[in-house]
């Protein structure tokens, strides 16, 4: 469903992403991992339109995303969460979802309820999403007043609110404790069960290894390995990228 072909992004002389190829299948949780500065977040930003690629193509169901403006990519079916939480802190939880909301294809409401958002069926849908995110009783709280874990869950819910074909999770476990990570694992697996396609960029291996179907490992903007979590764990190149090779283990660059 998502096909990235020979993706290149240069910032001045820095090759943040340097010839990246991968394909994500429908209903798959796809992991993108790599050391700091390997180009993971840049890839997410390229897919959702923060930057334009220097070269290469990003196809979603055969449609070239490069030709679509960032605000139209949501309608094209791409949604994301942010590494540093970016909720509208002055708006309520409910409103945060409503900003991003798109009706399920085939169940679109008329313009009156689009203007005022008052259709009962839609309210029920939003409430359902809130319950799924464990925020059922917090609909009218200001997003800025939520606890950290709740804010992360709200970001996830907000990404789901636009009924995307593909959800980009940009380091969703950053700053979480191990209980919260376990909870997040459950959530991502539940999303997969609901048929969603996920691109997960993450450092926290506990999450990546437990939820992904396939993984691509990046180093210096280039893919160095691809495979299932087990294959990746046993891959020598990956171990070198993360821990350095045996030769420079002493006194090498950490």
């Amino acid at each position: 469903m998502l096909e990235v072909r020979n993706l290149v992004k240069h910032f001045g002389g820095v090759r943040a992403v340097d010839g990246l190829d991968f394909k994500i299948q429908q209903g798959e949780v796809f992991g993108l991992i790599g050391p700091n500065g390997s180009g993971k977040s840049t890839t997410v930003n390229l897919v959702c339109g923060v930057f334009a690629p220097t070269d290469g193509e990003i196809l979603l169901d055969g449609i070239d995303l490069g030709a679509i403006a960032p605000h139209n990519r949501v309608d094209a079916g791409v949604a994301r969460t942010f590494q540093n939480i970016r909720l509208f802190s002055e708006l309520t939880v409910w409103q945060n979802l409503w900003v991003a909301w798109r009706d399920q294809p085939g169940q679109e409401q008329g313009w009156v309820s689009n203007w005022f958002g008052r259709s009962p069926a839609r309210r029920q849908e939003i409430q359902k999403l809130l319950e799924f995110s464990g925020l059922g009783d917090k609909a009218d709280h200001l997003a800025g007043n939520l606890a950290f874990g709740e804010q992360r869950r709200l970001e996830l819910a907000r990404a789901m609110a636009s009924k995307p074909k593909l959800i980009l999770l940009d380091e969703p476990a950053a700053g979480m404790n191990s209980a919260e990570i376990k909870d997040l694992c459950q959530r991502v697996l539940a999303m997969k069960e609901m048929g969603m396609t996920v691109l997960l960029v993450e450092h926290v291996m506990e999450l990546v290894m437990n939820v992904t179907d396939r993984i691509t490992v990046l180093n210096f903007g280039k893919p160095i390995a691809q495979g299932t979590p087990i294959e990746i764990q046993n891959n020598k190149l990956v171990q070198e990228a993360y821990f350095g090779s045996a030769e420079n283990a002493h006194g090498g660059v950490s």
Binding site: H71, N72, V74, E90, L91, V99, W115, F116, G117
Partner: protein, 298 residues
């Protein structure tokens, strides 16, 4: 009794200042931009209305509609020309200077439309009211009601509709709103259009209450709008309304007690005091946050 009479006069005038302040607060509170050409837009709308009056022959209502449409168009023009191309973080100063240039341009167009210094500006005829000893000008009462209704409509638009929610989300974080599918450039255009409509309403009310228009009206209305916003709280919509009403009350009371020549002195003294005691304005408790948001805007 005099106090009551003066206060009522002050509220009537203050309601038009509130609209001027709201226009500024909309643009600053949501876009974090100052439109220096605001007064020039108002002058342009009024000049266009006077210029077209003999051609259209619609009388006071013609002036009313043409002023509003003219100001809204000028405001939209300023947005497209000065603010839309400089919507990025570093564009704040560039956009403000560009709007200064358009101020000159609109001023020039206005003086081409109205070659004389003073032109009569007809108002809507409404019978005056005597309420015991208290006198209320009919047209000013009408203006007061129009101002209240437009403030109410703006409130409903911003707080009860999806468009308003997207606008508020954009005010909170334009970049995030953009990535969530809000058409941020288009919303900026809508904001300027709304500010133009409010400004046009205010221009019609002030000019028809005075009965004439001069080329100085542009700068004058920029001042009144900015002062209303500064007193009320920079970027706060409620603050701008309250600031406008306070400005009207202070002006008329100062004029009645100390004489007309002290009126502006007292007003500027008030601004001075507010800036020293509460730099963010009366409702502007979040001034520092507002500041940091201005830096964040991309």
């Amino acid at each position: 009794m005099d106090m009551l009479q003066t206060s009522i006069d002050g509220l009537m005038i203050g309601s038009t200042y509130a609209l001027l302040g709201l226009s500024f607060a909309l643009v600053f509170g949501i876009m974090r931009r100052i439109n220096l050409a605001f007064g020039a837009c108002l002058l342009f709308g009024a000049s266009l209305a006077i210029y077209l009056e003999p051609i259209l022959g619609w009388g006071a209502w013609g002036l009313f509609f043409v002023t509003i449409v003219g100001v809204a168009l000028a405001s939209a023009y300023v947005e497209r020309l000065c603010f839309a191309p400089h919507s990025k973080r570093h564009g704040a100063v560039t956009a403000m200077i560009a709007s200064f240039a358009v101020w000159m341009q609109l001023d020039e167009i206005s003086s081409q439309l109205l070659p004389q210094r003073t032109h009569a500006f007809q108002g809507i005829e409404v019978p005056n009211l005597w309420w015991g000893e208290v006198f209320v000008r009919g047209d000013q009462l009408l203006h007061f009601v129009i101002a209240l209704v437009s403030i109410l409509v703006l409130y409903l638009l911003l707080y009860k509709t999806r468009l308003g929610l997207l606008i508020r989300a954009t005010a909170d974080s334009p970049e995030t709103a953009h990535l969530l599918g809000a058409r941020v450039p288009w919303l900026g255009f809508i904001i300027f259009l709304l500010a133009g409509i409010l400004g046009g309403l205010a221009a019609f009310m002030i000019l028809s209450a005075d009965g004439y228009v001069t080329p100085l009206f542009g700068l004058w209305s920029t001042f009144k709008g900015l002062i209303a916003m500064i007193i009320g709280g920079v970027g706060s919509l409620t603050g701008a309304v309250i600031g406008g009403l306070i400005l009207g009350l202070v002006e008329t009371h100062a004029g009645a007690v100390l004489g007309a020549e002290f009126r502006d002195m007292v007003t500027f003294g008030l601004v001075f005091l507010v800036l020293i005691i509460r730099p963010g304005g009366l409702m502007g408790v979040k001034i520092y946050r507002t500041d940091s948001l201005a830096q964040e805007r991309v």
